[in-house]
């Protein structure tokens, strides 16, 4: 199990660092996010807080979502071209094939996240929480990234085409961020939207992650949020795995 997962992960990483185009895009993207969302949009928000720090967890979530989309895309491409079948006929657990892809996606995502953080700190973001907040924040980000990497894979397992995949992914990518407290505080939004946000993994992630970077008015206990995130990850991996098993029928 471990060997197979490692092999699939390694293969993706080898291809990743060889692909200049993908690498370049992934390096420039986060810089744009920080500039546009953190600095640009931050100016439009009321109050006089430290916007880059406030926005940072949201930008990290956006980055993780972007990587998840890319990871699903990579899987779909392997599926449509038939590369996946090499794994499928090998005597390895189906879970290891899934985990290999998820870990590759999350690794790329953290490669980007590292760049986002560097740029953000240059742009003036600060860590205001203690070391505990920071650790929680990292854990939450990993859970969030793994969860959405799995969901993107689950979508990619059913899609008939690349267009279809993007159509599906788009449905929950940006709307999910906007229906959470990732990009703006929820104080001034209508009640129905606040309720929607309560059932949104992006909100759970922000609840745990934001205290490390900015003053945060919690809307639920961070322990509950963390538990919900864990449940979300377990559920999404389960969905991806059962869809993967069903691919043979």
């Amino acid at each position: 199990m471990y060997t197979a997962t490692h092999t699939i992960w390694l293969r993706h990483m080898r291809k990743f660092f060889r692909n200049r185009e993908e690498l370049g895009g992934l390096i420039i993207q986060p810089i744009l996010w920080v500039a546009l969302f953190g600095i640009g949009m931050g100016r439009m928000l009321p109050g006089d807080g430290d916007y880059v720090s406030f926005m940072l967890p949201g930008i990290l979530a956006l980055t993780a979502l972007g990587s998840a989309t890319g990871g699903g895309m990579m899987f779909l491409d392997e599926r449509l071209r038939g590369i996946l079948r090499e794994y499928q006929v090998a005597p390895i657990p189906r879970m290891s094939i899934l985990l290999g892809h998820i870990l590759a996606t999350v690794s790329k995502s953290f490669f980007q996240i590292f760049i986002v953080l560097s740029v953000a700190f240059v742009a003036g973001a600060r860590i205001s929480g203690d070391i505990g907040n920071l650790a929680m924040s990292v854990v939450a980000l990993i859970l969030f990234a793994v969860g959405f990497a799995s969901i993107a894979l689950a979508v990619a397992m059913r899609s008939k085409s690349i267009m279809g995949y993007h159509g599906m992914i788009f449905l929950f990518n940006l709307p999910m961020l906007f229906a959470s407290n990732a990009l703006y505080p929820l104080e001034n939004v209508p009640t129905w939207m606040r309720w929607l946000a309560m059932f949104n993994p992006a909100t759970w992630y922000i609840e745990v992650a934001r205290p490390a970077f900015a003053v945060h008015t919690p809307i639920m206990s961070s322990l509950i949020a963390l538990t919900l995130l864990c449940a979300f990850v377990a559920w999404s991996i389960q969905i991806a795995l059962s869809r993967f098993r069903a691919m043979t029928s």
């Binding site: 060997t3 038939g82 079948r85 090499e86 499928q88 090998a90 390895i92 029928s249």
Partner: protein
């Protein structure tokens, strides 16, 4: 002796399309079985079911004595598979592709290196093995694919159209490898093809399939023998034709006639041809061409399905 591959009454449909209906296949250890059929016959679908990639709607499969569905891991441990559409990763070198294949099967590093050296030698890829596979020609890719599925020393090989798109030299090369794997390593091979020459050259047993059905099965010589040792073909206009009485005589092994072509399987063509021509002429038909040939698997296919199996090369 127990068959290495044993499939019973397989069936698979995709929505409205019935891709495979009631196909049974049995392959003895150390022999080569060729599934021969035209495009869309259900060859790839059958291979996918045999290699755990696709669940049959009906039927059962055992490989090396293990059930494909319930003991899929044990089955996967002994099979090597190449696919019809090549699955090479363009951003890896040939060596890396082989190395990753070896890793998937938990082969340790030193053994992988040795195995790669042997296989590169066998398929003659030479220095090209360190080039990106994206730069390979079709022939090189097929050879690398074959090497890849041999990395873990499988007992059973499944090759889906192993020579598709290859020039005659490369085809002969792949045939040599397959014969070598069979004779030197005792491998069991199931391959698909729509080249009857390929089936004739390689297979111990040929299964002819069309529209998902097994039409004929047997050794190439037995299948061809059913048609007689010679085949008389007449082309022309045969609108006033009835089946002659002598088709029931022993020297006639098959009779097939349409308005433009007549094919008769006989014992000795040169001796029977005058009688045949006389008969056809008498009934007021026009003969344009006459030939006597040894029947081929293509003729067996025509006999079974009523249409020609075009060799696409």
């Amino acid at each position: 002796m127990q068959p290495m591959i044993q499939a019973r009454t397989l069936a698979k449909r995709f929505g409205e399309v019935v891709a495979v209906r009631n196909i049974s296949v049995s392959v003895m250890p150390g022999s080569v079985y060729a599934l021969l059929g035209p495009n869309g016959a259900g060859k790839s679908t059958t291979i996918n079911m045999l290699t755990t990639l696709l669940k049959p709607d009906q039927g059962s499969i055992t490989i090396n004595g293990h059930d494909v569905e319930r003991e899929s891991d044990l089955v996967r441990r002994v099979i090597g598979v190449t696919f019809q559409d090549l699955v090479l990763d363009r951003d890896l070198t040939g060596r890396e592709a082989l190395d990753f294949a070896g890793r998937l099967y938990n082969i340790e590093a030193s053994k992988r290196r040795a195995r790669i050296t042997d296989l590169v030698e066998m398929v003659g890829l030479g220095d090209a093995i360190d080039r990106m596979t994206g730069t390979y020609s079709g022939g090189m890719r097929r050879r690398l694919e074959l090497a890849r599925c041999l990395m873990m020393e499988p007992k059973v090989l499944f090759l889906d159209e192993p020579t598709q798109g290859l020039d005659p030299q490369h085809r002969a090369l792949i045939w040599d490898y397959i014969r070598m794997l069979k004779t030197q390593q005792g491998m069991t091979v199931l391959l698909t093809t729509h080249g009857m020459d390929e089936a004739e050259a390689l297979a111990d047993v040929v299964g002819i399939i069309d529209h998902g059905k097994m039409m004929h099965e047997g050794t190439p010589s037995a299948l061809i023998g059913q048609l007689g040792s010679d085949l008389i073909r007449l082309s022309g206009t045969f609108t006033h034709l009835h089946t002659p009485e002598w088709t029931s005589e022993q020297w006639v092994t098959s009779w097939q006639a349409s308005e433009t072509e007549i094919r008769i399987g006989v014992d000795i063509g040169a001796r029977r041809i005058t009688q045949v021509i006389e008969f056809v002429n008498q009934s007021g038909n026009t003969i344009e061409e006459v030939s006597i040939t040894r029947p081929s698997l293509g003729d067996v296919f025509l006999q079974a399905t009523g249409r020609a199996l075009r060799d696409e090369r």
